[in-house]
């Protein structure tokens, strides 16, 4: 079977360029975890890679680890400090090399009071809407994004609904709602 995912042995140079990178592999898919400050450098690296140029950005999404029940993140315990933990969110980037038919996954943690990372729009224009969606749902800012607005929700929506501290049933109606059971009684 052909290997679609770039694994450790395919990219020896990524470990030389980024000594702090960590790697793990599950189900035949490699995941490279880097510091959020290195994102700009790794975008340069991936876009201009000699053997596997990543010419397509497939997806950007994020994960909120607020609940802290994850064995690999024992530092997330108390709720108050978790809210502004520096590693609360994981940003997940998926890249695809059209010419080589290879994929790679990059994860970077971010957090703090105003989580912000560098925008990848300069390298891949597909990032425009993807980053707007991550901003919409998780409230992670992308610096140097040309037009960082909400993309799915309406302008007057407050908060970011996919954050774990957003109330599960927190509705924000735009018009006064009827209450048919009450009105018809």
């Amino acid at each position: 079977m052909q290997q679609y995912w770039l694994l450790k042995d395919d990219l020896p140079d990524i470990f030389q360029q980024f000594p702090a990178i960590s790697y793990n592999e599950e189900f035949g898919q490699g995941t490279f975890r880097i510091a959020a400050t290195d994102l700009g450098k790794i975008f340069d690296f991936l876009k201009t890679h000699k053997s596997y140029p990543m010419d397509m950005l497939t997806d950007i999404t994020a994960v909120d680890y607020l609940s802290g029940d994850y064995a690999e993140r024992p530092n997330l315990t108390g709720r108050e400090e978790d809210l502004y933990s520096e590693s609360r969110y994981d940003l997940v980037y998926h890249f695809y090399s059209v010419s080589k038919n290879k994929r790679i996954r990059i994860i970077a943690s971010c957090g703090g009071e105003n989580p912000a990372v560098i925008s990848s729009y300069k390298w891949w224009q597909a990032a425009h809407f993807l980053e707007r969606e991550v901003w919409d749902m998780f409230g992670i800012k992308f610096e140097n994004h040309p037009d960082l607005r909400r993309v799915l929700l309406y302008e007057e929506f407050e908060g970011h609904p996919l954050r774990k501290d957003y109330p599960t049933m927190g509705e924000q109606p735009r018009i006064p709602l009827r209450n048919p059971e009450h009105d018809n009684a």
Partner: protein, 156 residues
């Protein structure tokens, strides 16, 4: 006084019943299709099931020409003002059918985005449950609405 009979080609009725009969068979519809139920609705309005049999075969793409608003699919809070305005633009008498679990009650969505039933925004005459409803159920809903129109006092 001589006994007086009408000729065979004249039928007597009450004004309310007559208008109700006419209105129930000319349901021009505005289809507010927002989700997967709209696919189901397409098969209902196509020739196999055929809403034309009930006089509801004229989808109007302007609410000002429509009598019946069919809400076919999930209503989100982002859309709520749009649906409200469309209903306000329809001229009286106007009827509303909510088709599918999401339009009836929000369905299985209970989150930041979904309105818990179209009747939170506008009054609804007939609810057709199902996810999605069978075509027969939508036809049954139209027939229930016809029945309702015939039985109500007609506002002129």
């Amino acid at each position: 006084m001589p006994e007086y009979t009408l000729p065979d080609n004249i039928i007597t009725t009450k004004l309310d019943q007559f208008i109700g009969w006419a209105r129930s068979y000319s349901l021009w519809q505005y289809v507010f299709g927002t989700a997967c139920c709209a696919m189901e609705f397409m098969s209902v309005s196509a020739s196999h099931y055929d809403t034309d049999r009930f006089g509801a075969a004229m989808p109007r793409y302007s609410p000002r020409q429509a009598d019946m608003l069919m809400i076919v699919g999930t209503i989100t809070h982002k859309q709520a003002p749009v649906l409200r305005r469309i209903w306000e633009q329809m001229s009286d008498p106007k009827y509303v059918i909510a088709v599918g679990a999401c339009a009836v009650s929000g369905g299985f969505y209970r989150n930041y985005a979904t309105v818990q039933g179209a009747d939170r925004i506008i009054p609804v005459d007939v609810y057709v449950p199902g996810c999605p409803p069978r075509p027969e159920m939508i036809l049954d809903g139209i027939m229930a609405l016809q029945d309702k129109i015939r039985k109500t006092k007609q506002v002129l």
